[in-house]
């Protein structure tokens, strides 16, 4: 066990996958910023109230799931990488639900027609969701790769994973 690559692999036996875990936590951070940003919307109808409520509920589920993934992937559990990919796809899908619909819609508030989500707010919201999704995808990739490398290394050593 003298070459650098083997030592690097062997290190994983005792160190956490902090990069993948950190990326999952970063995706939570971007999601929280998105979550705060949507409150600036001009919600003037029950339809957007419901959409925002649903977004808040999904957000709670996302926060919990992403945090669990962060903990799981930290310990090289490959299954959590697949959950992270699913969560990332979910973040991308959300773009087309609330921000896109709200950006295209107008509502009447105090007899004035206003856009539910202004362009600047829309751009920010989309950016946060994309960043959150990208973090999850990269984290999942790193987690998956390292988990497989560790598994192969342990098998080569004859140690149970």
């Amino acid at each position: 066990m003298n070459d650098e690559k083997t030592v690097r692999l062997d290190r994983m036996r005792y160190t956490k996958n902090s990069m993948a875990s950190g990326l999952a936590l970063l995706s939570i951070l971007f999601d929280v910023i998105f979550f705060i940003s949507i409150y600036e919307s001009n919600v003037g109808s029950w339809y957007y109230n419901i959409l925002m409520g649903a977004s808040i509920l999904y957000n709670l589920i996302f926060l919990l799931a992403a945090f669990l993934c962060s903990e799981g992937i930290k310990n090289y559990k490959i299954g959590y990488a697949y959950v992270m990919i699913a969560l990332g796809l979910g973040q991308l899908a959300r773009i087309f639900i609330y921000p896109v619909k709200a950006h295209a819609a107008t509502v009447t508030i105090q007899e004035q027609a206003v856009t539910v989500m202004e362009t600047a707010q829309f751009t920010r919201c989309v950016a946060y969701l994309v960043l959150s999704a990208v973090c999850l995808f990269i984290g999942a990739y790193v987690g998956m790769t390292r988990s497989r490398q560790l598994k192969a290394h342990l098998e080569a050593l004859g140690v149970a994973a």
């Binding site: 030592v7 690097r8 062997d10 290190r11 005792y14 160190t15």
Partner: protein, 358 residues
């Protein structure tokens, strides 16, 4: 590995209390020095000054000839093992051992190799993924030692590392430290108040009292030829018996005893003829004989030996460690003799040795 020279070191606190007086010590490369003494004698303070955790009020500290008196602790290339382990509870054993090297931004692969090597030496390889709370006291102390080993320091400093362990574990860990020293051949300074640890571990012992060095020597020298009454009473278990005695022609006379002197002893005590001195006799040097009678007041069977406590004369208390199993009752008289005697100047407490030096 390193040579350490402590030259005329004093420690004076801000409130003018002096904890260490003129401490001098030359530690050879690869030597294991044990600083021993009762609580408050300045041994830990001395170690902390060497580590750089306390300022040195006066004197110099040299490591491999280089003056490090003013060098900050982190740059001294010394590693310290504390009594309370000082492990990070939220980190695994691996992370604890790697921590100091990570702070130094060493290559992670190099850190990994060093941690595995240290874990191998200490038998901790299977524990590396555990947290400190999952380990026993002895294992935690080994982790603390491992954390020092990975740094490959010039000097290892141990501050009462076994005090938190139970008696059985203490014995086992003590042997591990000894093996570790033999294996690493490192320069080590070890502080303890336990004279058994001092005698079993040390290449040389520094015996301290009230901030002063009382004697520096090998364990045998301190046991066999103590420099003064303090060292004689501190080293050895049970402690040495002391009796006031007057030097007469050819014998020593005290309250309840009269012991004959050998030709060599007569020579040593010649300058004290007619004067009062202190006679010291180790319990293991009290044997069955005809010199004096020991009036028993308690009897402790230790298996191979029997520890007999009593008095000779009116109020000279004495402990005797007799070989074998005896069942003396309180009030029994046992005839004993002193196989080996130590003599101390009554006024100064210094040992009276061959050549008339007190």
């Amino acid at each position: 590995m390193a040579q350490l020279n402590v030259q005329h070191v004093d420690k004076i606190y801000d409130n003018n209390v002096q904890a260490v007086f003129d401490f001098n010590l030359d530690v050879k490369d690869g030597e294991l020095i044990v600083l021993v003494g009762p609580s408050g004698c300045g041994k830990s303070t001395t170690l902390r000054m060497i580590a750089g955790l306390e300022d040195i009020s006066a004197g110099h500290l040299l490591l491999d000839g280089k003056d490090i008196t003013q060098t900050p602790a982190k740059d001294r290339d010394m590693a310290m093992v504390f009594q309370n382990y000082a492990l990070y509870g939220h980190m695994t054993i691996y992370e604890n051992m790697a921590f100091s090297l990570t702070l130094r931004k060493e290559n992670p692969n190099v850190i990994h190799k060093k941690v595995l090597a240290a874990a191998e030496i200490l038998g901790l390889t299977s524990q590396l993924n555990k947290k400190p709370s999952q380990l026993s006291g002895g294992q935690r102390q080994r982790v603390a030692m491992g954390r020092s080993i990975v740094r490959n320091p010039k000097v290892f400093l141990f501050d009462e590392p076994l005090s938190n362990l139970d008696a059985k574990l203490r014995g086992a860990t003590r042997r591990e430290i000894l093996l570790l020293h033999k294996r690493l051949q490192a320069t080590m300074l070890y502080v303890t108040h336990d004279q058994t640890e001092a005698l079993t571990l040390a290449d040389r012992i520094v015996c301290m009292s009230m901030g002063h060095v009382q004697q520096v020597g090998t364990p045998l020298e301190l046991y066999d030829d103590p420099a003064n009454r303090f060292v004689a009473s501190f080293i050895g278990l049970p402690p040495m018996n002391f009796f006031d005695a007057t030097v007469r022609e050819g014998f020593l006379e005290g309250c309840g005893f009269k012991v004959r002197l050998s030709e060599e002893e007569k020579g040593i005590l010649l300058p004290y003829a007619g004067k009062e001195i202190e006679l010291g006799v180790r319990p293991e040097d009290v044997q069955e004989g005809t010199e004096t009678a020991l009036n028993v007041f308690s009897n402790e069977n230790l298996g191979m030996n029997t520890l007999v406590h009593g008095h000779i004369g009116d109020n000279n208390r004495i402990s005797a460690k007799l070989r074998g199993w005896y069942d003396y009752k309180a009030g029994d008289n046992v005839n004993v003799a002193f196989a080996r005697k130590h003599f101390f100047d009554k006024a100064s407490g210094e040992a009276i040795r061959k050549g008339g030096k007190a």
